[in-house]
Amino acid sequence: IALYATLALRGFFPVEELDTFDEIDSRLQGHPDMTRTPGLDMSTGSLGQGLSPGVGMALGARLLGKDFHTWVMLGDGEIQEGQIWEAAFVAERYRLDNLTAILDYNGLQQYGWTSAVLNGKRSPRMSIEDPRRLWEAWGWNVLEMNGHDVGEILHTCRQALSFRGQGKPTIIISHSVKGKGVSFMENDYNWHSKVLTDEDYARAMADLERPLGGA
């Protein structure tokens, strides 16, 4: 949904069309469909599959002599899928420095499992611990950033681009909080795909009046 909101604000389709989300005949399907929604480079939905087409696009850019850069958003839950590591291996093998992944590291997934360590704000249903170790082992550059600080996001993405020519793909571990900015949603996995009541919505919107980045 955040993807559709972004595309609408960038002018790919009217903002009013957001109201058709997941309704019959809508261009805005429950999961992104490149054959329907303007502005999409790939259809996704079944987890763990996005990085491979990204590898294909980056390889394609090289073969076609084009200089576009490929960006792939990954969830920290979906990197449990084996295909991610197949793709990570091939990206490193082909030295794809025109590929950057951003790992949304919020520590939560739909259900997850109970962590033995309860570290303060993190939920006890921890998705993955220490992703840096895994991606470094696969031969990737690893950067980290605060995923709620726009300035830091821009800076880190520019830094990733500056690694082009060095022969390694890059991943940015984006530290984030699931449900950020909505007091009753933050770090609660139960809100993974729950629908708001009207009353919840009013409370959430009141919370969101506060500026981004304010804890």
């Binding site: 054959t35 491979s52 087409p53 294909g56 394609g60 850019a61 073969l63 291996f89 091939v90």
Partner: protein
């Protein structure tokens, strides 16, 4: 034409031929290029040969990505992996977005150099036929395999091309034209119609010879394209004799037999017998022994035809 050709050799040579014609054609291999013979392509076009290692899920996803930026990826691996290991990838990032990915499904059927049931793909037509957007073709010989690869490359969208490892008889000559979605009458007959697909169509022709020796006139119709089907052609061939046997080197569930039964059931109910693998997996063994044990030989097809004739004539 030679008497026999191995489709994997045809696969490799045709890729080289197509690469000259299509500068944006690339080949992705799943660590099997010396089996599928895609190694020949690598020798000619090393920069357009992309080794993906033993990782079929990623292989399919990378192909999808390449297709989105305008390349034409041909996949080289075994049918058994391309159908099963990465079925979800094929479904979501290739078939659903209708991307221009060509699946060269090698080693389909029972001929897998004695590797046994783990490497024999005998339900691919059932699975692939149920996949929206996919064109599914099972060539009868090397001549048709080459033409099908040309048709696949010329046509946008995902294709599944079923290929056989070992040499099989050549039945078509230079004058043959493969037309996607059309059946091909290989032999005229009046008593019974034998529908075949893939290399099993050649065995159906041989079965017709056996039947002719007993005075039974069998029409033989080859169905190279399992999807899209040719309902008119199938109905016409069935109407001509009023009795139908389907035969395939594939399980009798979901493949050619089911496809023909579906068409005839809706448009022209006709007594029909499905012949093929009887809902079983294969095993290791010499090719001839496998064909004999699993009942796929011409004399088995003739048996099925005789049985149907006995009950309906």
């Amino acid at each position: 034409m030679p008497e026999s050709m191995a489709m994997r050799e045809v696969f490799a040579n045709t890729l080289v031929e197509l690469a000259g014609q299509y500068p944006n054609l690339v080949v992705l291999d799943g660590d099997l290029a010396n089996s599928t013979r895609a190694e020949v392509f690598e020798q000619h076009y090393p920069d357009r040969f992309l080794e993906m290692g033993i990782a079929e899920q990623n292989l399919m996803g990378v192909a999808a990505g390449l297709a989105t930026v305008g390349l034409i990826p041909w996949l080289s691996s075994f049918a058994v992996f391309l159908v099963n290991r990465d079925l979800d990838q094929l479904r979501m990032v290739v078939a659903q977005p209708n991307l221009n990915v060509k699946i060269g499904a090698g080693y389909a059927g029972l001929f897998t150099a004695r590797t046994g049931k783990t490497h024999q793909e005998v339900s691919d037509l059932a699975v692939m036929r149920a996949m929206p957007h996919l064109t599914v073709v099972a060539p009868a010989d090397g001549v048709e395999a080459r033409l099908a690869m040309h048709a696949a490359t010329a046509s946008p969208g995902p294709w599944y091309v079923r290929l056989v490892r070992d040499p099989t008889p050549v039945i078509f000559d230079d004058s043959y034209r493969y037309v996607p979605g059309q059946v091909v009458t290989l032999r005229q007959g009046t008593d019974i119609t034998l529908f075949g697909t893939g290399v099993q169509s050649v065995r159906a022709l041989q079965a017709a010879d056996l039947l002719a020796a007993e005075g039974i006139s069998a029409e033989v119709v080859h169905v190279p394209t399992l999807k899209p089907l040719d309902p008119e052609g199938i109905v016409r061939a069935a109407e001509k004799t009023g009795l139908v046997v389907t035969t395939e080197e594939h399980t009798i569930i979901g493949g050619l037999g089911s496809a023909v039964a579906e068409i005839l059931g809706e448009h022209r109910p006709t007594p029909l017998r499905r012949h093929g693998l009887m809902d079983v997996f294969g095993e290791s063994g010499a090719n001839d022994d496998l064909i004999e044990k699993y009942g796929l030989a011409p004399h088995h097809i003739a048996d099925a035809a005789r049985a149907l004739l006995r009950t309906h004539r």
